[in-house]
């Protein structure tokens, strides 16, 4: 039995600055097994994974690899064992080519003289092959700086596929991916599995857990709740194991929307080469979904509406007034706010406290004669922390110390407090756990109920379906469908998004 | 120009209170602390002066501190002056980087009973008691022009380039002013075509000189009143194969010029006796401390001989024109 175990971690403990975040967790992986790791934001999943990947050292506990006790002192030690990890936040080298990013640390080389030369041709060819396997068209010579967050995620995945892996750890690899890319990823993972690789898979999309994994380890507050066979579970049961209570994501009790006058009329909005002739209306109180494959141009449309990347032509009419939105400040002043998809780049300042991040857009209102009011700010941000259930010790904690999902709530919080007219949410629940997701859904719905018009861009189809009153579908920079409630289904959306009839698991 | 460097030529009428200073260990003297501050350290010129000063300091019962900024900065000199005052120095002898910036600090020093003299580069007269003047601007400027003019005697218009140190150096500027005036009045065939700067860096000087030679093809002479500039100009002339075609002269230390004089790139250059300047400064310091210094007339500085004093200025004498023979003899 025990020789069937490739990796066996016993009683791992890790604390940061006196706070124990992983409290004696076991995990066992067998070759060819796909094992899910689930839990709320901040449950300690990434921390556990980082101990297996050599990023963090456990305070106590031991890790056995193929029966022998090992110290995984740093990432290259993990690599030597055959343990490769796709971390939660993509960390690419923006000024280097995609291919170099993929191979960094393992650059194909020819030895000649004292130097080790990079075999560039081999590198580019290899990289192209990897992306072909991923069924993605990617210019491997372009600089990583130009990639969207989803493309970055694909590069991260590609990095782990160039090795002979014994254990492949995937920390929320699908958070930015749409169904299409996710399917491709799963096909590859299944093949690796059949070759004997053990997979440890983290996701907040429980459907994926059920479709990919045979076992699931549930964590809550740094502890292991238990290990279960997925065949013996269903989604609701799993959620209650994670959260300790029942949650219904599809709570659709919504006020009927009366579509009288649109608050926002967008006509023929164009910004080549990103999108063209985008025309749609948005009504007060409506939640409008926007679906599409990665790179369809949704984010670009949002950025045009928010003014950070203004459109070249076309018209934006807000509350009957034609606007030329040239920058974010103007958009915000008009009541348009935007939760960006790349939260590390555009959403938060990681090394500043939660409070500072949450109050930045409202700073003018929160200060008197330009003098800040720390107490007022604290009160407001504590309120937001409570309302959004941000898991933190204090509002003065640095955002970098929060789990990914909680960071997302911070971004969300800074806009909710501004009482906007139009809220554009770009992947609003990327990396957010089920519990928080339902809270965010609740907030989105109640905002909409108070008359806020919401545009939700999401690659998570169940999310689009759960939230939207109406769905726009984008494909290659154009709006290809406007589906009302009656016509909403995953199949229908995917058909428009891909242009072919797709099957969805 | 700098108003401080005034001409003392023709000042012979002033003979009323000639007195001889009693200096050089005849009487039992008390040791005094003297601070000697050059414009900057690390330049052979000032190092030469310090050697001259050191050679006479002990016989004058002077405890000498020689220290200056590493770059020619007036503000560094001010903070040095302040700390010497705080440490109870008797005399401060400074070669000023700026005639006016040092004035408040020096006046404050005098108010506390410290004797202040300047050497090599003066401050406004109200901020010091004596200025030991190495040579008048007239002397330097006209000599440089004169030897150049003699070299080109009988020729038509001669284009001349000037390579100075920095645009703000007061000594350089006053010398260049005199050169211009002398040319205008006596040698109208000389024609200054450009003034460039070496920023006191050999490579900058070399590049500047090369560029001058190329940009002004008719230029026949380079005069550099700066000890970095002369060897740089000579080097440029050699590099561009213009030896014999471009005449190089200026103010420089003999030891620097030896190689260029030896190989014939430079025939003549100008300087005063720098160690003697340092030594004279020490004699003046001693006399000022003792209260035996005359305000005008003649001042006898031990073995150095006697020097003319007028309006609080002690004049070292006229600059020397060095040629191959005298360069070989000089050791500074």
């Amino acid at each position: 039995m025990s020789e069937r175990v490739v990796l066996n971690a016993n009683q791992l403990v890790k604390s940061f600055a006196g706070v124990t975040v992983v409290k004696g967790v076991d995990i066992r992986l067998e070759p060819g097994e796909a094992h899910a790791l689930v839990g709320e934001n901040g449950a300690g999943k990434s921390t556990l994974i980082k101990m297996l990947a050599g990023v963090h050292q456990p305070d106590s506990g031991e890790i056995q690899f193929e029966g022998r006790t090992v110290t995984i002192a740093n990432p290259s030690a993990a690599h030597q064992l055959g343990v490769f990890t796709v971390h939660q936040e993509p960390a690419l080298m923006p000024q280097l080519s995609v291919a170099e990013n993929v191979f960094m640390g393992f650059l194909p080389m020819k030895k000649r003289g004292v130097f080790r030369w990079v075999d560039r041709n081999a590198m580019f060819a290899e990289a192209e092959r990897v992306f072909q396997r991923l069924e993605i068209s990617m210019d491997v010579r372009q600089m990583a700086a130009q990639l969207t967050i989803a493309q970055q995620q694909m590069v991260e995945i590609a990095k782990s596929l160039i090795h002979q892996t014994k254990v492949l750890i995937l920390d929320e690899p699908t958070a930015t991916l749409s169904v299409h890319e996710t399917e491709i990823l799963f096909r590859i993972v299944r093949r690796l599995q059949s070759e004997g690789t053990a997979i440890l898979f983290v996701s907040h999309r429980l459907q994926e857990v059920f479709s990919l994994c045979s076992k699931v380890t549930v964590m809550r507050d740094g502890e292991r709740v238990g290990v279960y066979e997925t065949v013996h579970l269903d989604e609701n049961r799993l959620v209650s194991l994670m959260v300790g209570r029942n949650i219904n994501l599809n709570d659709t009790e919504r006020r009927e929307i009366v579509r009288n006058e649109p608050i926002l009329k967008v006509s023929n909005l164009t910004r080549r080469p990103w999108f063209e002739d985008v025309t749609f209306d948005l009504y007060p109180g409506e939640i409008l979904g926007m679906a599409g494959l990665v790179g369809a141009g949704r984010t670009n449309v949002a950025e045009a509406l928010f003014g950070v990347a203004p459109a070249q032509s076309g018209e934006i009419e807000l509350g009957g007034k034609v606007l030329r939105i040239r920058n974010a400040r103007q958009a915000i002043a008009e009541g348009i706010v935007y939760v960006p998809e790349d939260r590390h780049k555009h959403g938060v300042a990681l090394s500043l406290p939660i409070r500072t991040n949450m109050t930045l857009p409202s700073l003018a209102n929160l200060s008197k004669w330009g003098i800040t009011q720390p107490r007022v700010e604290t009160r407001l941000s504590e309120e937001m922390v409570r309302e959004l259930n941000v898991k933190t010790t204090s509002v003065l904690q640095l955002v970098s110390q929060l789990s990914g999902g909680n960071q997302q709530k911070v971004v969300f919080a800074k806009w909710v407090s501004r009482k906007p007219r139009i809220m554009i949410l770009d992947e609003p629940t990327r990396g957010v756990d089920v519990g928080a997701k339902s809270e965010i859904y609740r907030i989105i719905r109640s905002l909409a109920d108070t008359g806020v018009a919401v545009l939700v861009i999401s690659s998570d189809l169940p999310e689009i379906l759960a939230l939207s009153d109406r769905v726009l579908v984008m494909k290659e920079g154009r709006l290809v469908a406007d589906l009302d409630k009656a016509h909403l289904s995953e199949e229908n959306i995917m058909r428009h998004a891909t242009g072919v009839k797709a099957t969805v698991s | 120009g700098c108003g401080a460097v005034t001409s003392s030529q023709g000042g012979g009428g002033n003979t009323s209170n000639t007195s001889n200073a009693t200096s050089g260990g005849t009487t039992q003297q008390q040791t005094i602390k003297v601070a000697m501050i050059p414009k900057e350290i690390g330049i052979p010129y000032f190092t030469g002066a310090s050697q001259g000063a050191k050679s006479v300091a002990s016989q004058l019962h002077i405890q000498l501190t020689y220290n200056g900024p590493t770059t020619a900065s007036a503000s560094d000199q001010v903070s040095m002056i302040n700390s010497y005052v705080a440490q109870g120095y008797k005399v401060i002898a400074v070669s000023a980087n700026d005639p006016t910036s040092l004035a408040p600090a020096l006046k404050a020093a005098m108010a506390k009973g410290v004797k202040v003299i300047t050497w090599d580069s003066d401050v406004v007269p109200s901020a010091r008691q004596y200025f030991v003047n190495q040579a008048t601007a007239e002397g330097i400027g006209s000599t440089l022009v004169q030897i150049t003019a003699q070299h080109f005697q009988g020729q038509g218009t001669v284009d001349v380039g000037i390579l100075s140190s920095t645009p703000t150096n007061p000594n350089q500027n006053s010398w260049i002013d005199v050169m211009k005036k002398t040319i205008a009045s006596k040698y109208p065939n000389l024609h200054i075509v450009t003034i460039q700067y070496d920023q006191e860096q050999p490579d900058v000087g070399l590049t500047a000189a090369e560029n001058m030679i190329k940009a002004y093809p008719n230029m026949k002479a380079i005069i550099s009143p700066d000890s970095v500039g002369v060897p740089a100009a000579a080097e440029a002339v050699e590099k561009l194969g213009m030896k014999g075609k471009i005449y190089v002269t200026g103010l420089a230390d003999p030891i620097q010029m030896k190689q260029y004089v030896d190989d014939g790139t430079v025939q003549q250059f100008v300087l005063w006796n720098v160690p003697e300047l340092g030594a004279l400064t020490m004699y003046v310091a001693r006399a000022v401390a003792d209260g035996t210094m005359p305000t005008s007339g003649t001042f006898t500085a031990g073995s150095l001989g006697s020097f003319k004093v007028s309006n609080g200025q002690v004049l070292l004498g006229n600059p020397t024109v060095f040629d191959k023979a005298s360069t070989d003899k000089a050791n500074y």
Partner: protein
């Protein structure tokens, strides 16, 4: 460097003698020192570092080389000594930055002071001059039509460019500068990779120092004081980003050449020298701005 071409064209039209091959070679000659030092800065700045002491390190080398030559050492030993002194100066920076993890700007500001002080100590405040002709020959030899120093500059450029672009270690230098965390996750040993550029910079300061004294014929205790910022400027003008991750060897040398052209052009335009720096600043601005807008345009077009 499109602007550079433009500048050269303007010069050609206004003063044809400027672009004579001999003159161009002279410009290259006058940029050798700054060019080599700028090459040293590239690797350093790519790793998000900076070396403010590079001119002072070169200054020490000029003095040591000069003194050693005057003391009658054989010329190969003199050169070797110069390179070693440069490398040691660079290594000292490197150790404090990579191993002790002190901020590069502070370390090199500190060593700038220390090295400048040492320059006076080495020479006792005197200049180094009247050098033996074997040493001076290093500055004036020619290979066919190429002056020796230019040849060595080109050699340094070639080696460094190839090293940075085509070797594994070179790519690791970029990786660290781009995203040190990601590089660590990829198993790159940070300490070693951060150390290397400083060593290289020191070594190049050694090369530059030997050439400087051999070419200029003398050196003073303040030699190189003006080159610390100029070398950085050349590298940055050539496209090296002070926030790390980007920069090329060729760019740095082109940056140095641009500075050289500007200096010479100003004299050719018969501009009073007090205006030189203003014109230099203005041309740098125009050059960098026009290049960056050009680059932006190209990127847009490509997208």
């Amino acid at each position: 460097m499109a602007f550079m071409v433009l500048l050269l064209l303007v010069l050609l039209v206004s003063n044809p003698s400027f672009l004579k091959p001999g003159n161009l070679m002279d410009i290259l000659l006058s940029t050798v020192t700054v060019g080599i030092l700028a090459l040293g800065e590239v690797g350093v700045i790519v790793t998000k570092g900076i070396d403010l002491s590079i001119g002072a390190a070169m200054g020490i080398v000029t003095l040591v080389v000069g003194e050693a030559a005057l003391a009658g050492w054989p010329i190969w030993l003199v050169v070797l000594g110069g390179l070693i002194v440069g490398a040691v100066a660079g290594a000292l920076n490197g150790v404090m930055i990579s191993l002790v993890k002190l901020p590069p700007i502070i370390v090199t500001l500190g060593t700038l002071s220390v090295y400048s002080g040492i320059m006076y100590v080495v020479t006792n405040g005197q200049w180094v001059q009247n050098l033996p002709s074997q040493l001076l020959a290093l500055g004036s030899f020619k290979l066919w039509f190429l002056p020796g120093p230019v040849l060595i500059l080109l050699l340094c450029l070639l080696v460094l460019a190839v090293f940075l672009r085509y070797t594994v270690t070179g790519r690791y230098i970029y990786a660290i500068g781009n995203n040190a965390d990601a590089a660590r996750l990829a198993g790159i040993r940070e300490t070693r990779i951060v150390f290397l550029p400083y060593l290289i910079a020191g070594l190049l300061a050694g090369v530059a120092g030997v050439l400087y004294i051999a070419y200029n014929g003398f050196s003073t205790p303040s030699t190189g004081a003006d080159l610390n910022l100029e070398a950085i400027a050349a590298a940055v003008i050539g496209g090296t980003n002070v926030f790390g991750g980007r920069g090329t060897a060729l760019g740095a040398v082109l940056g140095a050449v641009l500075l050289g052209i500007i200096t010479e052009a100003l004299v050719f335009f018969h501009l009073p020298a007090v205006w030189n720096e203003a014109a230099e600043g203005l041309i740098i601005l125009v050059a960098v701005i026009s290049d960056s807008t050009l680059i932006r345009k190209v990127n847009m077009g490509r997208g």
